[in-house]
Symmetry: C2
Subunit: 291 residues, 2 copies
């Protein structure tokens, strides 16, 4: 059984990006503008990590924090200004947004040329069209990159995606349905309404768990020899930790890992790849600017 | 076993549309502009059928035929003019296009507000986002309408889609993954690279065949009691016909039909629904105009 080291693989990718960016003139490098609304603790930590990673690569990472009480119209106006600002190449609005805002409309407000998070309709549509000029959203494209760099070919394999979210489940399925050695998979998408779920997931050569339920995937749901990609990031109580909690994935790791050919841990699996792919998309946006 | 009568169901829908349109002032009714490039015989027949159906409903259906030698730039200029023409509410460019043209770029040239064929990136992206302001492409949305009007609920069922095209396979899968009684399905997409195909298709409660191979789906690939939707339109030689050929679907109808709870015939199944849904989308575009 191989534990897929997302930190190490993301580190390779970040080093490649750093090497490319460091060859650019200092006054003409990619810039990502990160927007956070309110003080959701997980969002604070994600945005900080993204800004630090940009800095490590030599990109500019600007963070704007808007108050929780910001209106939808004010956020749109702020996004419009970033869309019009030629010094900004990529824009990310950190989810989740406060409840009085519409996330989809917010994602769709970002210019398709700066949509490095890959969540707006134009980006997602290009994914369906196999059009590589678009931005694939970061978590699913991070999964593909993880498989590619681990040497796990997906062509002809049965990939089962557990979850149908706009952020992960659907784009992961669409990427796996494209053509190529790290795509070309037979894809099944399961979700909360799926009947007899274990019989579906147990067919997976590659199981992508993105259902957002702590340790939901048990050993009986996994075929021996499968590759398991755990996208979940769930906080559970843990009295032995100073913080009183710890992170676990959507997979019951201790029970499932011994069955697998390979598995991603949580933390340290898919998470670091998501951040690295955001930076890769930002470099792509920078290269496409003015197109 | 029920034979799903696509002609009758499309006829109901067309009558509903006719009833709604006939209540509109004669000088303010929906208009669809159909563009055909060259003289592909199937395209000639499809475009004629679409124009006739528009007329039956009381919509305006204009056909422009461009010569086979039209350049991509000339086609784009023609589409741009239609996009700018406020008397045109829906635009359809009939596929297949001549080989010197790019179909995807052509579909993407159509304004998202007039993309009644539902094939451009913005329309497809909205499908992924469950955003009902977009246009779902006509064949997959025709399948959903057929299931709805036949009373076949898909929630919790296993839908297997055979084919991963932009026109049918992928949007059909995406529609079936949305929420609601005629969606909410567990969805598997199979294609030319799928291994052990019969074991996958035989799991289908509802099998959607859109692989473009005459009578490809045999009895061993279908679970007894399944609902089979045959999207294929293949011409095969038939010496007993005056034309020397006849249409068959992707399903070996005679062998498969006796196993099914319900099945669509070819012709007279999905085909008429595609045309009816195009008209439904045109009415929707008309109502949204100026938004």
């Amino acid at each position: 059984m191989t534990v897929i080291d997302g930190n190490a693989i993301a580190g390779q990718l970040i080093e490649e990006l750093r090497s490319e960016v460091s060859a650019m003139p200092e006054n003409a490098r990619p810039c990502i503008h990160l927007v956070r609304v309110g003080e959701d603790p997980a969002s604070v930590s994600y945005v900080k990590k993204k800004q630090e990673t940009a800095a490590k690569i030599g990109m500019t990472g600007i963070v704007t924090v808007l108050p929780e009480a910001t209106t939808q119209a004010e956020l749109f106006a702020f996004i419009d200004a970033l869309n019009a600002d030629s010094s900004v190449h990529g824009i990310l609005v950190q989810a989740p947004l406060p409840k009085h805002m519409n996330e989809r409309d917010t994602f769709n407000r970002i210019s398709p040329l700066k949509d490095v998070d890959g969540l707006n309709a134009a980006s997602v549509g290009k994914l369906v069209q196999d059009d590589e000029s678009g931005f694939a959203s970061c978590t699913p494209s991070g999964i593909v990159e993880l498989l590619r760099r681990t040497g796990v070919r997906t062509a002809g394999k049965h990939v089962v995606v557990l979850g149908r979210s706009l952020l992960v489940g659907k784009p992961a399925a669409l990427l796996m349905l494209q053509k190529g050695p790290f795509a070309d998979a037979t894809v099944t998408v399961c979700h909360s309404r799926t009947k007899d779920l274990p019989s579906k997931t147990a067919q997976a050569d590659i199981l992508i768990a993105a259902i957002g339920r702590a340790r939901f995937v048990s050993a009986d749901m996994v075929k021996p020899g499968a590759v398991v990609i755990d996208v979940g990031i769930n906080r559970i109580a843990d009295a032995s930790r100073k913080s009183g909690q710890r992170l676990v994935g959507d997979v019951d790791y201790d029970a499932v890992a011994p069955l697998c050919e390979a598995i991603t841990p949580v933390p340290g699996g898919v998470g670091p790849m998501t951040v690295a792919m955001l930076m890769k998309n930002t470099l792509k946006a920078f290269k496409m600017r003015g197109c």
